[in-house]
Structures are given as structure tokens and as C-alpha cells.
């Protein structure tokens, strides 16, 4: 198994994160997030590296990681589209727009485009209900969606 080593930049960030807590295990989620952000996946090798950094077993890291939906064991696209389908968005027609987005990207919901650019996921409430229907792409929230607006947003990222 090829090892995973943190980059120098990541090491610095990890030091800063760990210093926030009296017990370093609290840095578990932030470290997983850091790896996910940089690698777009958390590999078993990265789990081992995190476990060594936080003095716990790799199995424990995996157990924690599997609990949260934002970590992926398979690589996701450059742009992660989380499409809210919960009640306020449902009342504002998100189902059709999700279908439209999937057709436009020519993928199934849950899939990634062939060029690894976009991954499209159904998502539970993202706390932007007053702008429903909405989606989140990486760190950005996009509300008041229409087919035209989805076209514009996706075209600007393509």
C-alpha cells in the first residue's frame, strides 16, 4: 500500500488546527475535511496518516468518517453540486430542476461527468430555505434557481 504523507502546507495547517483543542482527537473532522478538500477523496492511506497524527486506530478514523456525508471514499468531480431536495425546495419545484441538471450534465444523480468536472448529489436541507430552490457548488450557495440560471451557473464553470 502506497503511503500517504501530508504536504508541508498541510502540516502547517494541521498544527494550527490541532492547537485549537485540548485533546487532539477533536481535530478529526477538520483533518478529514482538509484531506477531502485537497484530494477530493479520503483514501484508506490518508485515514492511516490521520490516525497516526491523532494517536488512534485507522479503524476509528474510518468509523467516524463513514458517519458523515461530506466525506467520500471515491473521488468526486472538481465541482461538487449538492442539490437541495428538502421541503422548502420541494415546494418550489426542485425535483424538475434536479432532473434538468442531471440531463444537462448527462449523468445520473449521484454520478460524475466523464471529464471529472461535475458530481451531482441530492442533498438534504442546506439552510437557505428562503432562497429556495437552491444548490451548493463547492463552497458557494446558489438560490432562486430556474433552468436559465442553472444554465448560466454551469456554463460559467465549464
Amino acid at each position: 500500500m502506497a503511503g500517504f504523507t501530508f504536504s508541508e502546507k498541510q502540516e502547517k495547517e494541521i498544527d494550527r488546527i490541532v492547537a485549537k483543542y485540548p485533546f487532539k482527537k477533536s481535530a478529526m473532522l477538520p483533518l478529514l475535511t482538509l484531506v477531502q478538500r485537497d484530494e477530493r477523496v479520503v483514501s484508506p492511506e490518508a485515514m492511516v496518516a490521520i490516525s497516526e497524527r491523532l494517536d488512534c486506530s485507522p479503524a476509528y478514523v474510518q468509523s467516524v468518517m463513514s458517519f458523515y456525508t461530506m466525506y467520500h471514499t471515491e473521488k468526486v468531480g472538481k465541482y461538487m453540486i449538492l442539490f437541495c431536495i428538502n421541503i422548502s425546495c420541494q415546494l418550489n419545484g426542485c425535483d424538475k430542476l434536479l432532473e434538468y441538471t442531471a440531463q444537462k450534465l448527462d449523468i445520473k444523480v449521484g454520478g460524475t461527468t466523464a471529464d471529472d468536472k461535475f458530481t451531482l448529489h441530492r442533498e438534504e436541507c442546506l439552510a437557505d430555505c428562503t432562497n429556495a430552490p437552491m444548490m451548493r457548488i463547492n463552497d458557494t450557495f446558489y438560490g432562486e434557481l430556474t433552468e436559465q440560471r442553472i444554465d448560466q451557473i454551469l456554463d460559467s464553470l465549464s
Partner: protein, 418 residues
């Protein structure tokens, strides 16, 4: 209209500490530091402020429950806002981060706390940058750090991001998550005030709750308590979403009629359809039919109407909507978010989902409604945390008020299809 939390909310650059200070920001610290910590707790008690996250527990009382003489103590701000329909905390964090920091400093002073965490849901990554910048500014100004304003108080506050789990909004699950574990709820007691984060006394408050505290310290408990009803004091942020013309976060005085919120503030029902139902406090509370729209928006009146104020998310549903489909969507949410620790929740949410799906496929019978109520009965108050009860609320209330929506699926069932 009285605005406490949203007074300057749309002011340009309010996230900048200089701008915030010009509006009187951080002034409450001087007032607070001139008094004893226990006087601040007494003041918050007297204000009648109750937790704005969902449970509505009296804030001052919560603070006074901290185990005596046990240190260190921790403050966790619950910014895991995930209750479907709720987006008020997001607006506060996005536009007025210093108000939260000020509230957290006051709470820390009152409760002798030296470390605070702001637990934000992972999807609020964008807001964590705003918050981190605001915390840096507060440190540079000497509002955080060692010996703050010469009072001897030491305090630092950090942001912490979750990673996608509704359950982490439940306070004991939040603590487990913050400790680096799976976000499963803990057995209570012990309550967090006695054994919380790292098994130390911990205060956990919602963003909105903490944001109210500077006003109480500045203006006095009486002024805050003069707003609202006898038992529901002050103002409340209400996130109005769904089929309304002007969805948005509105600050209302407790006791305002729900009709006024929907028809005046939010502009009424979109496309001039009629109101069919509304969920007053986020998806975890029972829905009410249109004829109860005059109910006053406060803890007691909503409880008397058979529902709850919850997180203050008013979801408005018009008469073009099929309640069965809406209910299925909510069950699906709770099924997805159940952590699986307690069997009634893990299995119950799944069974309810299977039954409602079957009903929607015209394969249901009247007996299924009885079965659903039976399952709900076996989920209520039988789990570590209230997620199961939250799932039960829309199911039972939808059957109670909108039985005909279900019944229309029972007609013309081909024989042998069930």
C-alpha cells in the same frame, strides 16, 4: 417594528469590527464587567430569554445549572442549523458575526468559561471564513485573549466545522462530534451542564440565543421582558419559506399572529393560491391546517394549538400541494439522518417510508394509516434523542388534518395488488 437582532442587519460592511463598534458593538462588555458574573446570569434569567434553537429552554436557568467549582468549563455555540426550513442563523453568521462573538463573551464571563467553540455545519464552510476573520479582529482589539479589558478574564473562541449530519444539531451528538467521534447522542443525564465537552461543564446555546444577550446587558432585562407575551419574551427570527410571495427571515415580536407573518410580512400565498397548511417551527413540529392561521406566534399559543415554535421556521404550503408527497419527503429526510443508534428510530423511519411510498403507488389501504400511527406510537419518547419524535410529528399531524389526501390514493385499488 422592534428590531433587536436585525436592527442593522443589512448595513454595509457590518462584518467589519470598526463598523460594528460604531453601531455600539461591544459596548455591553464594559457594562457586564462592572457587575459580578452571577448578576449577568440573574439578568438573563429575568429577561425571560428562552433557547432559540428549538427546545425553548430558559437560557439563564441553563447557565445556572453548571456544576459548581468544576473547571475548565466550555461554551459551544450551536451553529449546526439543519432543521428543514430554518435559515436564520445563517443570516446572522453571514451578516453580523460580531454580535455572536459579543454574546459569547458575555456568556463566558457570566459562566466563568475560558474556551468557546462555534460548531458550524460543514456546509457553512463559506461562513467559517467570515467568522474566523471576525474572531481575528476581536483578538486584535483585545476582546478575546488573556486578561480581557483588565478583568482577568481569559477567553478564546474557535470555529469548528461538522461534515454533514443533521443529528449533530442535537446537543450531546454535537459534543461527540466536536470530540472527534461519530455524532451519536448521549444518554442524559448527565446533562452537558454537568458533564459536557471533554466531560466538563458545558453551556450549549443556539446562535440566535447568544446574539440576544448583548441587547439584554445593554438595555436591561426589563426592557427585553416587556416585549412579547407573558411567558414568551422578546423577539424571534422567523424563516418564512415555501409557497409565499416574499420568503425571508423576519424578526417578529413574540405573540404576533401567524396570519400577519404569512400575509403581511411574507406577502401572502404565491400565485394567489389558497393556504392549505403551515408548519410553524421547522419540519420537526406538527403541521396545522389553514383554519388555524390566526394562532399567535409564541411558545404557549403554538403549544396550545398542538404544535411547537421549534426553531422558528414557518413553512407555508398552498392548496396545490399533496400533503402525502410532502410527508414522504420529510420521512425520507429523517430516515436519511437517523444515526441508527436507537432501533425505534432506525427501523421506524424506514417502515414509515416504505408504507407511504406504497400508498403513493396506489397500493395502500386504510389499515396502513392505522399501522403508521401504531409505528409512530412506538417511536415517540423511546429514543436517546428527539429525532424519532421529530419524524413522528409531520406523520401524525398529516394523518390527523389531511386524511383525505391519503384516502384519495385508496380509491380504485385493483384487487390483488396489495
Amino acid at each position: 417594528m422592534t428590531q433587536i437582532l436585525f436592527k442593522n442587519i443589512d448595513m454595509k460592511d457590518l462584518t467589519d469590527i470598526e463598523v460594528y463598534e460604531k453601531q455600539g458593538g461591544y459596548q455591553s462588555l464594559k457594562k457586564a464587567f462592572a457587575q459580578k458574573p452571577e448578576e449577568i446570569v440573574a439578568m438573563v434569567k429575568a429577561s425571560g430569554l428562552r433557547g432559540r434553537g428549538g427546545a425553548g429552554f430558559p437560557t439563564g436557568l441553563k447557565w445556572s445549572f453548571l456544576a459548581k467549582d468544576v473547571f475548565p468549563r466550555y461554551l459551544c455555540c450551536n451553529a449546526d442549523e439543519s432543521e428543514p426550513g430554518t435559515c436564520k442563523d445563517r443570516e446572522l453568521l453571514l451578516k453580523n458575526p460580531h454580535m455572536l462573538i459579543e454574546g459569547m463573551i458575555l456568556c463566558s464571563y457570566a459562566c466563568s468559561i475560558e474556551t468557546g467553540y462555534i460548531y458550524m455545519r460543514g456546509e457553512f464552510h463559506d461562513l467559517s471564513f467570515i467568522m474566523d476573520k471576525a474572531l481575528d479582529e476581536a483578538r486584535a482589539k483585545g476582546y478575546l485573549g488573556k486578561n480581557i479589558q483588565g478583568t482577568g478574564l481569559n477567553l478564546d473562541i474557535h470555529t469548528h466545522l461538522g461534515a454533514g449530519a443533521y443529528i449533530c444539531g442535537e446537543e450531546s451528538a454535537l459534543l461527540n462530534s466536536l470530540e472527534g467521534g461519530r455524532g451519536e447522542p448521549r444518554m442524559k443525564p448527565p446533562f452537558p451542564a454537568v458533564e459536557g465537552l471533554y466531560a466538563k461543564p458545558t453551556v450549549i446555546n443556539n446562535v440566535e440565543t447568544l446574539c440576544v444577550v448583548p441587547y439584554i446587558v445593554n438595555e436591561g432585562a426589563e426592557k427585553y421582558a416587556a416585549l412579547g407575551t407573558e411567558k414568551s419574551k422578546g423577539t424571534k427570527l422567523v424563516s418564512v419559506s415555501g409557497n409565499v410571495k416574499r420568503p425571508g427571515n423576519y424578526e417578529i415580536v413574540m405573540g404576533t399572529s401567524t396570519r400577519e407573518i404569512i400575509y403581511d410580512l411574507a406577502g401572502g400565498i404565491r400565485d394567489d393560491n389558497n393556504l392549505k397548511a403551515f408548519i410553524p417551527g421547522g419540519s420537526s413540529v406538527p403541521m396545522l391546517p389553514a383554519d388555524q392561521v390566526d394562532v399567535a406566534y409564541d411558545y404557549e399559543s403554538l403549544a396550545a394549538a398542538g404544535t411547537m415554535l421549534g426553531s422558528g421556521a414557518l413553512i407555508v404550503i398552498d392548496d396545490k400541494v399533496d400533503i402525502v408527497e410532502t410527508t414522504l419527503r420529510l420521512i425520507s429526510f429523517y430516515m436519511h439522518e437517523s444515526c441508527g443508534k436507537c432501533v425505534p428510530c432506525r427501523e421506524g423511519t424506514r417502515w414509515l417510508h416504505q408504507i407511504v411510498e406504497r400508498i403513493l403507488q396506489h397500493k395502500g389501504t386504510l389499515e396502513h394509516l392505522t399501522k403508521m400511527e401504531d409505528i409512530c406510537d412506538n417511536m415517540s419518547f423511546k429514543t436517546f434523542c428527539p429525532l424519532a419524535d421529530a419524524c413522528v410529528a409531520p406523520v401524525v399531524s398529516s394523518i390527523k388534518h389531511f386524511r383525505s389526501d391519503y384516502e384519495k390514493y385508496f380509491k380504485n385499488i385493483p384487487t390483488g395488488s396489495v
